[in-house]
């Protein structure tokens, strides 16, 4: 079967508008989380990592848009443009487009939003992105809660291996809105301080926003931080729609299936880019699933302490940082973590350190009981083995 790679990539975020700058900030343990006072969005102040609107508008204007675009569309187009440009791939009928998002332009439902309510249809978002770049194929929109971003990578690989496409561009994004904040707040899931994944004193999540893009391809013309997709799986907990399984069943099954497909064992994993939302139940569930697979000694981080939980984009954002982590042979500190606060041992990265890295496992979990796990390997190492 064809090899499938993740290659050119971009992140538009509070920590910068290109992957390199963003990863440098993560390296220096700079967080994008700030206390926001916006009573329109939420009655009480909250922590979030927001994209600077002025900077976004300036970057977007350079692309000479001919119509009005929403904030999310601006983020997504600016991000994807960078990947389309640097990959230099001709957009023809063998090129697919996947958009992953949980809520898309949901802010268009607000009476005070200048855009028509129809803009909230995800297919409209898909069409707007498709038309901007002149993609030949209809946008495939993946909306599978908080695994959307990472599940898109698995789905892109499936399209390439089914020989429907040679290349798939993925753009993931969600914006911080009153809709989302009020919902998570009604679950009492929001933290009133910067989030602390896996920590003893963790107190819930922060919601953040990013747009992230990547090229998934069967071409061997790759960017230097490219990785090969070795195994992927996405299994349901079959347990509860708004809480994770106590045994981590779906995550455990996803990780096993990904390892099996990659023909690897737990010992072959150099680093885990975990989900780590900093809620009590999620982090505990992950620790249980990780121990069931004897992955507890593998260095692990959650990047939520840098970006907050960026919902449908988080899985792709964190995968891109993982690609750079491998390329830079560096394990990045899990920001906000001090003392282990889950019932099973896990090896949370306390300090950014240099280490030879060849493989990583990315995981995510979300509402509806969904879980996804994907194993990646440095592509330059793959070449040496051929």
């Amino acid at each position: 079967m064809n090899r499938t790679y993740l290659s050119y990539n971009n992140i538009i975020s509070s920590l910068g508008f290109d992957s390199k700058t963003v990863v440098e900030n993560v390296h220096n343990e700079v967080s994008g989380l700030k206390l926001i006072e916006n009573s329109q969005a939420l009655p009480e102040p909250f922590y979030s990592a927001l994209i600077d609107s002025k900077k976004l508008n300036e970057a977007f204007k350079k692309l000479q848009p001919k119509e009005d675009y929403t904030r999310l569309e601006k983020m997504m187009i600016t991000s994807l443009n960078e990947v389309v440009k640097t990959s230099n791939i001709e957009i023809n009928d063998r090129v697919g487009l996947i958009i992953s998002t949980t809520k898309g332009n949901i802010d268009a439902l607000d009476d005070n939003n200048p855009f028509p309510k129809e803009r909230a249809y995800l297919s409209e978002l898909g069409n707007n992105i498709k038309e901007f770049f002149g993609f030949k194929n209809e946008a495939i929109i993946v909306s599978n809660a908080c695994v959307s971003g990472i599940l898109s990578v698995a789905i892109a690989k499936r399209y390439i291996q089914q020989n429907m496409y040679d290349h798939v561009f993925i753009v993931s994004g969600d914006v911080v809105t009153e809709f989302i904040l009020s919902g998570f707040n009604s679950f009492q899931a929001l933290s009133n301080e910067p989030c602390k994944p896996y920590d003893k004193n963790r107190s819930g999540i922060n919601i953040g926003e990013v747009a992230a893009s990547v090229l998934v391809t069967n071409s061997s013309n790759l960017s230097k931080e490219a990785v090969e997709i070795l195994g992927e799986s996405s299994c349901n907990d079959a347990n509860h729609i708004s809480g994770p399984s106590r045994t981590g069943e779906g995550l455990y099954k996803s990780m096993i299936a990904a390892l099996t497909q990659a023909n690897m064992t737990a010992r072959d994993i150099d680093y885990i880019s975990a989900h780590g939302t900093a809620t009590m139940f999620n982090d505990e569930m992950e620790a249980i699933a990780i121990n069931r697979l004897e992955l507890q000694d593998v260095p692990l981080n959650s990047l939520k302490g840098y970006f907050g939980h960026t919902l449908g984009a988080s899985g792709l954002l964190e995968t891109i940082v993982g690609m750079h982590s491998l390329n830079n042979n560096t394990l990045y500190a899990s920001k906000g973590f001090k003392k282990l606060g889950v019932s099973k041992p896990i090896n949370v990265i306390k300090k950014t350190t240099s280490k030879e890295l060849n493989t990583f496992l990315k995981t995510a979990s979300g509402f509806g009981g969904c879980n996804t796990a994907i194993i990646f390997k440095k592509s330059n190492q793959t070449k040496n083995h051929v």
Binding site: S182, N236, F367
Partner: protein, 205 residues
């Protein structure tokens, strides 16, 4: 190209009717969706109180899946490897609008977790997975129209890579009084070939 897989059964819920493999099994004329789906559920004699907590999209998707899967005589303790690949146009917009109403006016502000959790289209996959203990692959797609080609690519991939033994696949759309569910089961069983033409023909039945 001949497909290795077949469609072994299918279900429609639309226009106040439920039909299984092309035969109408339930009809309730002149009824709004909430009444219709409740009556259809009761006619099935499925004792599952969680049904009443679901939002309308989940009720529609759950009932369609439940009627179809019930006929498969599954032992739910058997780790049935049935993947779910669902799609629609309106995502969870029907419930999104309810949540938006609850937050639109600060003097009448009542966001609720019981509503908010359903502001994701894939929640209906969770509901079906819980009932049938499906610890399996599941994904939710949004397309402008029913898109057989993409459903085929995703189901074939799951079957080819042995990630699933069968795939419950289709379209579950709900927006106000507009609703339509069309699900079909793909596996090596059955006689109707799993191809674009057959899927479109069944969809338009």
């Amino acid at each position: 190209m001949n497909s290795k897989y077949n469609i072994s059964s299918y279900i429609h819920i639309k226009n106040n009717q439920v039909s299984l493999n092309g035969s109408v099994i339930f009809i309730e004329e002149h009824s709004i969706f909430t009444n219709f789906i409740k009556a259809a559920y009761k006619a099935q004699n499925t004792k599952y109180p969680k049904f009443f907590k679901m939002d309308n999209l989940s009720k529609l998707a759950f009932l369609a899946a439940d009627i179809l899967l019930k006929k498969q005589n599954l032992n739910v303790e058997n780790n049935n490897n049935i993947a779910l690949v669902f799609s629609n146009k309106a995502s969870s917009l029907d419930t999104d609008i309810s949540h938006q109403k609850a937050i639109q006016h600060k003097d009448n502000y009542f966001p609720s977790p019981a509503v908010f959790v359903y502001t994701l289209p894939n929640i209906c996959l969770g509901e079906i997975s819980i009932k049938y203990k499906l610890y399996t692959e599941n994904s939710f797609f949004i397309f402008e129209h029913f898109n057989a080609e993409h459903l085929i690519a995703n189901s074939n991939s799951l079957l080819d890579t042995n990630k699933a033994e069968s795939v419950l696949c289709g379209w579950v759309e709900l927006e106000g009084e507009n609703y339509e569910a069309f699900l079909y089961l793909v596996s090596k069983e059955g006689t109707l070939e799993h191809n674009k033409q057959n899927i479109i023909t069944l969809y338009n039945t």
